[in-house]
Amino acid sequence: MAFRSEETRNRLLNLLKDPVLLLTIIIIFAALAIFIVYPIFKVFSASLIDKNGQFDLSAYTKAFSNRYMRQGFFNSLLVAGLTAFFGMLIGYIFAYTINRTDIPLKGFFRTVAVLPIVFPPFIGALSIIMLFGFNGFITAGIFGIRNFPVYGLWGLMMAQVVCFFPVAFITLDGVIGTISPTLEDAAFNLGANRWQAFRKVILPMSIPGIASTMLVLFIESLADFGNPLILAGSKFPVLSVQAYLQITGMYDTRGGAALAVWLLFPSIVAFIIQKYWVGKKKYVTVTGKPTTSVLKSVNRPVKWLLFSLCMLMAAFTLAIYATIFWGAFVKAWGMNNTLTLENFRYVFDVGLEAIKDTLIIAFTSTPISALLGMVIAFLLVRKIFPGRRLMEFTSLLSFAVPGTVIGIGYILAFNTKPFLLTGTLAILVLNFVFRYVPVGIQSGVALLNQVDPAIEEAAYTLGADNRQVFTRVTLPLIVPAFFSALVFAFVRAMTAISAAIFLVSARWNLITVQILSQSDSGRLSEACAFSVILIAMIMAFILVLKIFLKNKVSLSGSESMGQG
């Protein structure tokens, strides 16, 4: 024991000799405590303490004595489970087909598979209704089906699958892409047929990736708010919407907070499993040169079957976007197809401020978020300090917390001194920074794990201190992760709604809130036009980055997390 205390003393002495590192760690801990833990704590305490400041569990007993709310809880789990499964399945089919067959149009499929990361809230769901509703272009227009159950489980699941399967594709693309084809060659060599090679080699090797993907989708689906608000309908209550409605429809913050806490549990459980159990398993053990073997994983009929499935999904995805664009350029969505630019004129007239605000907020928060993500990733992977595990957990926590909960937490937490922030630009920026920082951390950690630590150690032995190592060596080496985080945080900041709706103010407004209010007051085409502008701005941003960085950046470079 004497030895250990001497080591601890040495360690502390070492840390003290490096004030910059020490200070960085302390500041990050403080920021995580204030901007992630404290708001969540506020939600808990709001649900547990009554008006007179007494401890009181009645909000919980009330919420769950209600059959309807219990139904909401189970529906949430059901739809999350199904979305996780089908989203993963489609993502897997895409990833497998692109990596293991020689189909044409691979670039097209890759693009389409990541497109729904930019899924405009509300309008995306509305266009599902336009496609599958009573007069839906697909159900009624093509198949003559009038009563497709677009409201409820199926419609909601469809929207969520489209919305979240890019996450699955990006992860699984990485997994399958790194399984060396020589392994299949070896399997063929040992007498396996194609199906056996898939079932015995490829599938088992991608199991951790599949599990991880499903858990992430599960969490995203639980937290999703924009889609169920439009598509769930009252016969299929889901908890994220119920929590929101409890607060905004029944004016019952305590009850809403209690529901939100219930929503938090499965989410955190899934997060912990994903992080500490599945996440520990290595996806692939293969390193070295990616061997380009002749692709012969599937025979011709299967190849074209997979191609057709991908094509179907791509067509479906594109149909949603086409519907939105069409809505933006016609007089009356679905009723009067006269082309017009009137909607855009209206948007620039009414919404110019919101567009400017959104851009300012996004451009302020995303670089901070991405940089902070890299710094935290660096500390987590490369430094040993007391509380490292705790820092990891809290910094990733906001991913598992549904936006509604965070939004409520922020107004509860930051409306009184000492953290008086409501109504400012800062509260939106801080919210976005800490909500989307897990993306940066994840991609930073992933990339840093592939970087030989000796490279940084070499820099230390050459006299560089922690700050110099980070800025001159680490950051240049993980620059792709930095830019993926940047792109991702930008996309999410531009499309965020669930938390942001509580935080916008008279001086700082967002496009997404505009989309909601426009479609609420019957201006669907204008809402579509806002969505188109939103999509266009995000695409322009990615394009500029791509040109600027010579194609080193793509949406698929990041592991996506945390739906707005």
């Binding site: 004497a2 030895f3 250990r4 001497e6 080591e7 040495n10 360690r11 002495l13 070492n14 000799k17 490096d18 030989d452 000796a454 490279i455 150690e457 070499a458 820099a459 230390y460 032995t461 050459l462 006299g463 560089a464 201190d465 110099q468 001159r472 060596v473 240049p476 080496l477």
Partner: protein, 359 residues
């Protein structure tokens, strides 16, 4: 006295299981020496090196560099440079920029920096490659850059962490001569980690043989090979035969061992403290055995089990009458006759080559 390790100990704890990685390492390394830490993987040699560098904090003990306690100094303040197994070049910088990295941090002025870089590229033989990036260089060239990058800092101590194990066998031989040449030319104190005994023999002033966190023996390459202090060192360095027996008598340096069931008496050299009547082990290198008696006073006889003809030498295996097996090597087999499998053969060895240690 350049580098002193005082009672350095390092314990790793994982899931409350303690593993002793380095156990009371005590060593003084003189200015200009090249000391090699040699041992199988997991023996603690790399951990020791990383403690010197400052990447690991010892559980107890101190590290002194030029009379200064550096135990609690971060790596960047120790004036120690390191050459890594993976070269660890900065992939985003050119050869020149890699070498200049530390100089820039020191804020050296431009002309001075240029002069040093030119001097270094000359010394390690990288002329003409200054503008290349690491991925455009061969492994050997990359390791030269790593060496130059470290040397240019004029560190008090230069550390090598298995610097040659990623190179192919041929290149490894040239590079180790090269490293030794440069090390002696700039007369820099060096600590070198390897698991390759040949490498260790060819390069070191002093070899520290380690096993399971413990120092097994410290000595010159000759001592380590010819005068091992224990079975581990004898076995780890080169090939060896062990003949176990009982000490019959000790007379100064000379020991008589009765070699078990064969009843042979072996007259050998005393390697450790030995007590008559207690067990002892005779360490016998295969090349010490000869089929010619000449001056050799010890002999063994047995049946030839098999042999391998290797051109310059023949290796063969002999079964003694008590069933023990002995390896032998004879050189210049073209001049001599090849052994015949199954034939009873007598082999001879000198007193000097029978090194007797405690078991």
């Amino acid at each position: 006295m350049s580098l002193i390790l005082k009672n350095v100990r390092k314990v790793f704890t994982s899931y409350s299981v303690e593993t002793v990685a380095v156990d009371n390492f005590d060593q003084v390394i003189e200015k200009g020496q090249l000391v090699t830490l040699l041992g199988p993987s997991g023996c603690g040699k790399t951990t020791t090196l990383r403690i010197i560098a400052g990447f690991e904090i010892p559980t107890s003990g101190r590290v002194l560099l030029e009379e200064r306690d550096v135990t609690n100094l971060p790596p960047n303040k120790r004036n120690i440079s390191m050459v890594f197994q993976s070269y660890a070049l900065f992939p985003h910088l050119t050869v020149e920029e890699n070498i200049a990295f530390g100089l820039k941090l020191k804020r050296l002025d431009r002309s001075e920096m240029r002069r040093k870089i030119v001097e270094m590229t000359d010394l390690v033989g990288l002329k003409g490659l200054e503008k290349r990036r690491p991925d455009q260089l061969s492994g050997g060239q990359q390791q030269r850059v790593a060496l130059a990058r470290s040397l240019v800092m004029e560190p008090s101590v230069l550390l090598f962490d298995e610097p040659l194990s990623n190179l192919d066998a041929k290149l490894r031989e040239t590079m180790r001569l090269e490293i030794r040449r440069i090390q002696q030319e700039v007369n820099i104190t060096s600590v070198y980690v390897t698991h390759d005994q040949v490498e260790a023999m060819s390069i070191s002033d002093v070899i520290v043989v380690m096993n399971q966190g413990k120092v097994m023996q410290i000595g010159s390459p000759f001592d380590i090979y010819a005068r091992p202090e224990n079975s581990f060192v004898a076995d780890f360095i080169g090939r060896v035969n062990f003949i176990d027996g009982t000490v019959e008598s000790v007379d100064g340096d000379t020991v008589v061992v009765s070699a078990g069931a064969t009843g042979n008496k072996i007259i050998g050299k005393r390697g450790t403290e030995l007590v008559p009547g207690k067990p002892a082990r005779v360490v016998l290198r295969p090349e010490s055995l000869s089929d010619r008696k000449e001056e050799r006073i010890n002999s063994l006889s047995g049946k030839v089990l098999k042999y391998v003809f290797l051109g310059s030498n023949v290796e063969y295996e002999l079964e003694l009458s008590d069933g023990r097996k002995i390896n032998a090597v004879t050189y210049n087999p073209v001049e001599r006759k090849l052994p015949v499998v199954g034939r009873e053969t007598e082999l001879y060895f000198s007193r000097e080559s029978a090194w007797v240690i405690r078991v």
